[in-house]
């Protein structure tokens, strides 16, 4: 059984209309020169991205192509220099789990609820129910240091979901994990998003991760980042990595990346 988050309760019965959409149009972002005499750094230039309600859009690109900048724009943590960003409030999940070491798993998961003013008891109940769904039953009282990397990332994802934001920005969420755990977590995330749909902007340098999870994959150019290719992933879920269609798409994405 999955718990219904507040966002799901507020949503009208019609499928996925409660979810927000993301629209970036012709966005540019330049940072001041890191030191005197250096050139200003153009992170993004002329980038457009659209994620409809309930859609999972993955963004892949070489390192330093402005992927993290892109997510900060979507989350409203910074404003673009040019172009427009139109997005409902979004929650950010980073590569590092950023769990608070003094809080138990359940209290970490409940952090956003506590910020929103939910009293401790109900917040813990909601968080514990979600942790249970995520296969973390029995670890509610454990501190982050007592959990494995995959478990910590699941707690972080529970915390992100419980923020009630309908848009999730995932910034290389599994990059810090070992290869085997990473695959497990990708499959797990695909299942979790199937059960609780959200509009997702997933930034990653792992092409396979993008293909396995997303409805659409955008390939960015090196800095300043802009979209050089768009791949629609019309493969039904649940997906298998060995699916020939996915393998072919992966090859195409890698080709675009190297172009």
């Amino acid at each position: 059984m999955l718990t219904r988050t507040r966002a799901a309760e507020e949503a009208p019965p019609q499928l996925q209309t409660g979810l927000g959409s993301v629209c970036l149009h012709d966005v540019g972002k330049t940072f001041a020169a890191p030191r005197r005499g250096a050139e200003p750094v153009a992170a993004l230039r002329g980038l457009s991205l659209r994620a409809r309600a309930g859609e999972i859009v993955a963004v892949v690109g070489p390192s330093g192509c402005g992927k993290t900048t892109l997510l900060e724009l979507v989350c409203g943590l910074s404003a673009p220099d040019t172009g427009t960003v139109d997005a409902a409030p979004a929650a950010l999940m980073a590569q590092r789990d950023l769990l608070l070491p003094w809080r138990s798993a359940v209290d970490n998961a409940a952090l956003a609820l506590r910020v929103a003013g939910v009293p401790r008891g109900p917040a813990r109940e909601q968080a514990a129910a979600l942790l249970h769904d995520f296969g973390l039953a029995g670890f509610e009282r454990a501190r982050p240091a007592e959990l494995s990397g995959g478990m910590r990332q699941r707690v972080a994802f529970a915390r992100t979901l419980l923020s009630g934001r309908t848009i999730l920005c995932l910034d290389e969420p599994f990059a810090a994990l070992d290869a085997l755990t990473r695959q497990e977590m990708q499959d797990w995330l695909a299942g979790a998003l199937l059960a609780q749909p959200r509009t997702v902007v997933l930034v990653t340098h792992d092409v396979e991760e993008a293909i396995v999870l997303a409805d659409r994959v955008l390939v960015l150019s090196p800095r300043p980042g802009r979209v050089v290719a768009t791949l629609e992933i019309d493969v039904p879920r649940p997906r298998r990595r060995s699916d020939p269609a996915l393998v072919a798409l992966r090859e195409r994405a890698l080709l675009e990346l190297r172009a």
């Binding site: 989350c75 409203g76 608070l100 003094w102 910020v115 240091a145 990397g149």
Partner: protein, 248 residues
Amino acid sequence: MIAAVVLLALLGGWETYARLSGIDAIVLPAPTAVAESLYDDRALLWSNFTVTAGEIGFGMLIAMALGLACAVAMHFNAMLRRALYPLLVGSQTIPIVLIAPLLVAWWGFGLTPKVAIVALICFFPIVVPTLDALDRVDGDLHKLMRTFGASRWQTFRMVEAPAAMPGVLTGAKLSVAIAAIAATLAELAASDAGLGNLMHRSIPQFQTARAFAAVLVLTAFSVLLFALLALAERRLLPWAHQPRGTAP
């Protein structure tokens, strides 16, 4: 355990030297003589101890309160930090022993000037680690809290303040270690009671063993306070001492 063995060896050496070298007990009393004084003068030592313990206790409390308030204020306000930090550093260079008579002139012979001196000396070691710990909070955590719509105060209460606790305790431990010296120095300047006063009086009275006993009491008290803080740290902040990644 090893510390105890080293201590016993040192005491044994000291005792042997004091007995066999024929050195005057006024210059160097044997450990047994100090122990004897510890017992014989216990009422005198106790009454002076309570005075010094009060100075250290109140001084530390005031230093903690002001130090934490100062660190938080400077953390929240960059202008305040620029205005106060140089003054704080400057306050550490004041030769407190020399201005102690001045404090006595302001506040009299009672508890107040001693508490003020202890507070003044202990204040700085509390501010610096606390402020550092507040500053070192991960910038990504600030971003995370912003995406949750947290207010500045919520971020402080839920993230920064708990994260700074190890820094606060480090500061408190540093302060405890110097509080005893601060209190005895303050008593040297002007006082009629306290362990520092007792040491100061005992030596010209040729009661060297008693002076050593007073030092011993003060040292034991400092070590006890330090141990209590270390215990509190382990109990209240176990997360700060656990190695990461010892997962099932």
